[in-house]
């Protein structure tokens, strides 16, 4: 009997689950945390391998769960992607508003652009990043209805740049139409996800300096 068990343990896949039962009291108090952990692991995998190439089993394994368990938290893989993008965009829009609100009342357009650029680098490349890059590079994986849901927040985030860009254009610092300039600037910043490395030659502050000079001539 003992021998047979030993054989079985060599053949069966070993579940990688922390010992003990998950703690839940009357109302599953840490369900929200587990759900969010799931989103973080999913986002990291979506970014490295792409959404379509990431299996729900990959995500379950990263959580130490079994293959069916992610569906206890999200009704489908697609809903998980949507949750990542939606929450990412909500957090980004909220932190952008806070960053602008912290500005001194007498701050000029250059100072406002600096805050917008620095904040954008932070949500793209900062320590808490991940959800927004997934949004940028997996947009096509959303359904039409999902795109609509995220677009609402994204549009507000982008619109927040326009008064500042228009002001810099009128003052002659920004040298292209504000609408097109915004698209070019977003491209320049968003593309940094492809090449930035935290251990590289430039910090986020230094990149912000360079971007400010390149686009708005601020020394």
């Amino acid at each position: 009997m003992a021998e047979s068990r030993a054989h079985v343990s060599l053949v069966q896949p070993v579940p990688r689950r922390p010992r003990g039962r998950p703690r839940k009291s009357a109302e599953h108090p840490d369900e929200g945390n587990r759900r969010h952990e799931l989103m973080e692991h999913a986002a990291r995998l979506f970014l490295v391998k792409g959404y379509a190439a990431t299996t729900t089993r990959d995500i379950a394994a990263a959580m130490g769960m079994h293959s069916g368990s992610p569906f206890y938290y999200f009704k489908s893989k697609s809903a998980l992607l949507y949750a990542v993008m939606r929450e990412g965009m909500e957090m980004a829009a909220a932190s952008q508003r806070q960053a602008l609100a912290r500005l001194a009342p007498e701050a000029d357009a250059h100072a406002r652009l600096r805050v917008l650029v620095r904040h954008h680098f932070d949500i793209l490349l900062g320590p808490a990043s991940g959800f927004i890059p997934v949004m940028l590079y997996e947009w096509r994986s959303l359904t039409a209805a999902q795109k609509k849901g995220v677009s609402q927040i994204k549009d507000a985030y982008e619109a927040a740049w326009m008064p500042t860009l228009a002001q810099l254009f009128d003052a002659g610092f920004l040298r292209a139409e504000p609408a097109v300039a915004r698209l070019f600037i977003f491209g320049a910043l968003n593309w940094s996800v492809q090449w930035f490395h935290a251990r590289g030659s430039h910090s986020l502050d230094e990149l912000t300096d360079e971007a400010l000079r390149l686009f708005a001539g601020q020394a």
Copy 2:
């Protein structure tokens, strides 16, 4: 018998193949064309749905082939992706060299930058485009060895910008370090794949004008 045949024809999938046998003489003279057609359909699908979400059956159907037939031309789905990127990058590097060679000998740095930008928009968004956008947005789907093979050509393409950017920087038109400026500029241009529409408000020539102004202050 005739009745049974009628039943069969309703149940069997109808092959979508042009009538007649494919013409091939002694050495399969149009094999190269079919192979290239396959790459074009694949590139279009890879761009719309992503590489992982595109099945070899999708590609076969777009060609009017049966599901196993793409493997007559490419030994794997991965080899097909690699062929698209490799040929795309080779064509882009070649046309870039030609565009620069057509410049008048007395052309200044602004004129050279204009040619580089206009050419880049053309390979990204022009009528013959498709392979390069796939390369930009499916880079992570390549194996390490494949990346090495494409990088060689890509590095040369990118390096061709540096003397011009350095010259514009020294003359005070480009307002950020050339190396970082190149990354920002490539991002700005490459991102246009996400938002450009041929029927939109700006032509490629107009976008080139705007980019020249934004990055190098050329009116």
